[in-house]
Amino acid sequence: MMPNNEVSPFQCGVDNKNTEPTHNSDKRFMGIKKQSRGFVRGMIPLLVILLIWQSVSLFLNNDNLPSVAEVFLSLQSQLIHGDMLHHLMVTLVRVAISFSIAMLLGVAIGIVMGAFPRINEAGDSILVIALNVPALVTIILCYVWFGLVEAAAIAAVAVNKIPTVVVMVREGARVIDRDLLQVAQVFKLSPSRCFFKVYLPQLYPFIMASARSGLSLIWKIVLVVEMLGRSDGVGFQLGTFFHFFDIAGILAYTFAFAAIILVIEGFIMRPLDRYIARGNYRSVGGFND
């Protein structure tokens, strides 16, 4: 029971002013409620697609389009009796390593190109070529030059991703707020402090954007790399299923890995994005001078 003078922030049919959450716990609860609603809303189109897919597959009754139930059964069987977890982990490790290398090198090159116009001028044509070389060419060349080894596979993926990271970070480095750097200069901040506290935070939105787009691109390239020259991983398994025309198996692996990427997006990328945007997008709480 609540005292008479208190009104529940979630009480229906009360004055709008009283429904505003006043405590942090209330705000958190409201946030979770809002997120849950968003999740449910996001699931509806997915369920509709699954429903259409199930109906069409039942109507066609063709092996080339297995039903949702068949894919689910294949997924279950691969997880319990097969070695799906092993292949998923192998691919995930390759994604993590190549992603880290691509981000580190891409950010470093992007900063240098954005900060130094002469270096940018010199490197721009190479960057344009690198952006337009087909991923398949890079993969084949890496395998031919370095052999069918793990390092070649990771290098091929990283080389494909680096140019897009460079382009995004370079744009960020070009629009760095010089006024804030002047603050660092006037107050005699050490170079490392200036870089990590003043310069790099200005690039975070650009780095974040390239990381998010990079993750989705990299895992697709990793699958091609695995299919062409590795003996394990999701890509290798997809190749095997293709040879046996096991469409349910292909879809089961695809959904399993896509689910992992969604988990990474939800539990790592989004919280990171919110942390980075903390000072820029926080709502103003009506403070007046």
């Binding site: 006024d179 002047q182 003043v198 000072g279 820029n280 403070f287 001078d289």
Partner: protein, 259 residues
């Protein structure tokens, strides 16, 4: 505390046809509060940037206690810019800690109390009003216990009650720290209220056309009769002063020696 000696022969920008600053010779004594007043576009901000080492000097020199600017003097310099220039991704406390990493929480609270921002250390700049952000920039400037403080129209575009409160905060902190101050403004009242001395800058290329000590007792209030009389007398003696036109209009002879 340090004294500041500026001797600049001129300053022009790459794409500009004319010089923005002419020959300038400014000497600021230790602990002195000097205001520079002049119309827009006379190079006031450029001058401050040159003193701070943010702009290069074409010819001439800037010395802090006889140490040349290019020799990277050891003195502590603070600058309050026209805009607060706080890092939006850092809280108020983090913005202060950025310039003095070893500062304690109690020292942060103490300086925030002085500028009237008690309990706001955990907020982000976006959560503060314009006036509050400026107060954080004042706190940041004084936190390093500067030997010399540069201010570039820090109260411009603020409403008068806010500007008045900030002027008073600035004055109190100056009294406490006795820092050498160079204050750029286009508000004559503000300059008279705060300064020991006012330098008037001509239209571009900016040169000093009048150097006047203020002999009014403190605290000075614009509504005070002595304050108004002093200002009236100054402006009646030099009617073109605020337009920065004494020299350009060839009126020096009418006003006698203005240096």
């Amino acid at each position: 505390m340090i004294k500041l000696d500026v001797d600049i022969k001129g300053k022009s920008f790459l794409n500009a046809q004319n010089s923005v600053l002419g020959h300038l010779e400014i000497n600021v004594a230790k602990g002195e509060f000097v205001s520079i007043v002049g119309p827009s576009g006379t190079g006031k901000s450029t001058l401050l940037n040159m003193i701070a080492g943010l702009e290069s000097i074409d010819s001439g020199s800037i010395r802090y206690n006889d140490q040349k600017l290019e020799d990277k003097p050891t003195c502590k310099l603070s600058y309050i810019f026209q805009q607060p220039r706080l890092m939006p991704w850092l809280t108020v406390a983090e913005n202060l800690r950025l310039v003095v990493p070893e500062v304690t929480d109690s020292e942060i609270e103490s300086i925030l109390n002085k500028v009237g921002l008690e309990g706001k250390s955990a907020l982000y700049p976006k959560e503060l009003s314009g006036g509050m952000q400026r107060r954080v920039s004042i706190a940041r400037a004084f936190l390093i216990r500067p030997d010399i403080l540069l201010l570039d129209e820090p109260f411009v575009s603020l409403d008068e009650p806010n500007a008045k409160r900030l002027r008073s905060t600035l004055f109190d902190l100056w009294i406490e720290h006795k820092t050498t101050v160079v204050f750029v403004t286009h508000d004559l009242n503000e300059a008279i209220q705060l300064s020991d001395r006012i330098l008037f800058l001509s239209s571009a290329p900016g040169e000093i056309i009048l150097d006047r000590e203020i002999d009014l007792p403190r605290p000075r209030l614009p509504e005070d009769i002595h304050f108004q009389n002093w200002k009236k007398q100054l402006l009646s003696q030099y009617p073109k002063l605020l337009e920065g036109k004494i020299k350009q209009a060839g009126l020096e002879s009418l006003f006698g020696d203005h240096r």
